[in-house]
Symmetry: C2
Subunit: 398 residues, 2 copies
């Protein structure tokens, strides 16, 4: 069976996401909107700045009045004040951010102006119209689209909404995501470890990550390797938008999650051309989408970051779901072409991508050590210094 | 007066930060530790994995037993089970993640094994010792340092702590940061705008950002341009770790914050070789550190991201406070050398950095549009295609 290319898997997931949008909205104060997805178009309701204003502390004047003679100061304008019109052949004392008085067309900074004994001000430097003036509407004009619906909100976007006077925004409601782990070998941290058991790391990884993506996490716990208990556990997950499981799903022996999905939903097993992370499960349980990630922690990281994360964001209407990637030179040689696209945990050292020595899918320390993932394409080798795509982990983890 | 280079300003701030650490710790469950700073060294208390285990579904055997004859299956080992020793000249049915039985030294995947009618298994492919076996201690050995104190915790680090069985971690307590805005022209979003007034965008920008950095934000509101009210407002900020103000601080007329700091603390005005963002204030109020950022939103963004953010992280003991940067080719020519280092809001298009058309410090849309900041050094020009440092915004905003 041929492997499914990463792009094709992503395209299928995004199409499924677009077909099952999480469309409901809520109005939240700006302080609660970080990380959420904007559900309205943010249109400027005012010009920003609303009037031309001074970029400096200094003097506002009309260039035509400045014929070499000192000018007397006819008003003093602090930020927050509304100035009167500039009297002809005078200047106005003005401070940063204060509105320019009608009739003025430039500002000279105070360092370049000489205040005479009689209080008049002499301007030495040649002046030009518009200097040190921030024009009205420099940031935006009333009616302009400032942020499109589907924008993910972060500190910058919240600052922008505030600058337009918005105290609240319409955002998509939080997705409810159930996180399930499968495997009788798993034990939750804090409990004693029996023979043959290991601690469940994926739950902590995914719960923190999902919260960064604005999700409400429903902890589905560890599924027992027992058919009826697996049926009961899934039936208890009412009212979630996505069931995210980690740990192998197959149709083989001792896989009860797969069995329950076949009974009461649908199950597709993908073999992806991705490393780490080959097996991925898609399907639904009574209509609720299910994504089954592989259970090795580095595989969970890569498949969640590159596939499930964009899927979730697209369900919220985010258009731009691709992480930023840059080209970096390989600080290593890659001599054995592989059938799967590899996402290697790498650091940038001296501008080059160097690899964590152990790239096993079972090793999560590689990702704690790494700055990002370098992408090694299928069926090719790389010489040291050749350019590779590099995705900073910060782009994936937020 | 010569301008203070960015590195020098950062070095001074980091030295101040190291001298005023926020050292108190608290124990938090993993679910509450995202974004916090680890206050203990995370040492492996067990080997990970605790025993050699199978990377595949297949058969475990001892290479020396495999002389071409089929082997009978003497036990079946699921993940979570503790196997008995492998009987000589037999193999064990084994599943991914299950411990290797003592005596076995390799695993053949089921796809490459042939189950005969009598139940014995024939192995066709040549086998090698250790194949499909994840060795004990592959991720870590007991006693190894897995995460150093001072590590910022994210989803990956929480997964790693969970894999070591840790349900709680010691983290630095949350810094309490007071955010003040200065300027009579400022109005909070949601309120009507009077003549000469603009909305306060920096508070929303900084509050969301500080929360991402694990801080508790104390909203100091907008300082009135009035000496006594400024004194009262500062005196009300008991028990904070940092006072962060935005909007010009000077010792000039109508600057009451500067006046109060001179009365009851200390005030240093820096002129930084940075654009946007030249003026930066450092000092303290009754011993509480004060950082005054410039008030234009793009200046606030750049100076907080490049100076105040690392300062805060260093106070929490974070060693690695520098954002990741990469080299990208300029998608523009820069023909006018400047005296200040510029941080231009840029997008990567076709791998090149292209600039938002309006780089005014008053324009925040540039940052909502941008993928990151490109760094244009002092006193030099750039031809199109020359390499520049590029800092993804995702590196700064988390």
């Amino acid at each position: 069976m041929s492997l499914l290319p990463v792009e094709e898997a992503l395209a299928r997931l995004l199409a499924q996401a677009a077909a099952t949008p999480i469309g409901e909205c809520e109005i939240v104060p700006l302080a609660d909107a970080d990380g959420r997805v904007l559900a309205e178009a943010l249109i400027a309701s005012l010009d920003l700045p609303p009037w031309p204003n001074s970029a400096m502390d200094g003097y506002a004047l009309c260039l035509a009045d400045c014929m070499g003679e000192p000018l007397s100061v006819s008003q003093r304008i602090l930020a927050g004040q509304a100035p009167g019109p500039l009297q002809p052949r005078t200047c106005a004392r003005i401070f940063t951010g204060a509105p320019l008085p009608p009739g003025a067309d430039c500002v000279e900074m105070q360092e370049n102006a000489e205040v005479l004994a009689d209080g008049r001000v002499r301007f030495g430097e040649p002046l030009r119209a518009g200097q040190n003036v921030r024009p009205q509407g420099q940031e935006t004009r009333v009616g302009e689209l400032v942020l499109a619906a589907g924008t993910r909100l972060g500190p910058v976007e919240l600052g922008l909404a505030a600058s337009l006077g918005r105290a609240e925004l319409a955002v998509r409601r939080r997705p409810r995501v159930a996180v399930l782990s499968t495997g009788d070998e798993l034990v939750e941290p804090g409990l004693p470890l029996g023979p043959g058991q290991i601690y469940n790391s994926n739950r902590s990884l995914l719960c923190a990550w999902l919260r960064r993506l604005g999700c409400t996490v429903v902890d589905g716990g560890i599924l027992a390797d027992d058919l009826q208990r697996t049926r009961d556990a899934l039936a208890a997950l009412a009212d979630v938008d996505l069931i995210l499981s980690t740990g192998g799903v197959s149709v083989g022996e001792a896989d009860f999650l797969g069995q329950v999905l076949q009974e009461d939903g649908e199950l597709t097993l993908w073999k992806l051309a991705i490393k780490p992370g080959k097996p991925l499960t898609c399907g639904h349980y009574r209509g609720v989408p299910v994504i089954g990630l592989p259970g090795n922690p580095a595989s969970t990281l890569v498949t969640f970051g590159l596939l499930a994360r964009p899927y979730l964001l697209r369900r919220l209407g985010v258009l731009d779901v691709e992480p930023l990637a840059v080209q970096v030179p390989a600080g290593f040689a890659w001599s054995k072409a592989g059938k799967r696209r590899e996402y290697l945990r790498a650091r940038l050292e001296g501008g080059r991508a160097v690899l964590y020595p152990n790239q096993s899918s079972g090793v999560l320390r590689s990702a704690a050590w790494a700055d990002g993932l370098v992408e090694v394409l299928e069926d090719r080798t790389y010489a040291e210094g050749e350019l590779l795509r590099f995705i900073p982990l910060s782009e994936l983890l937020g």
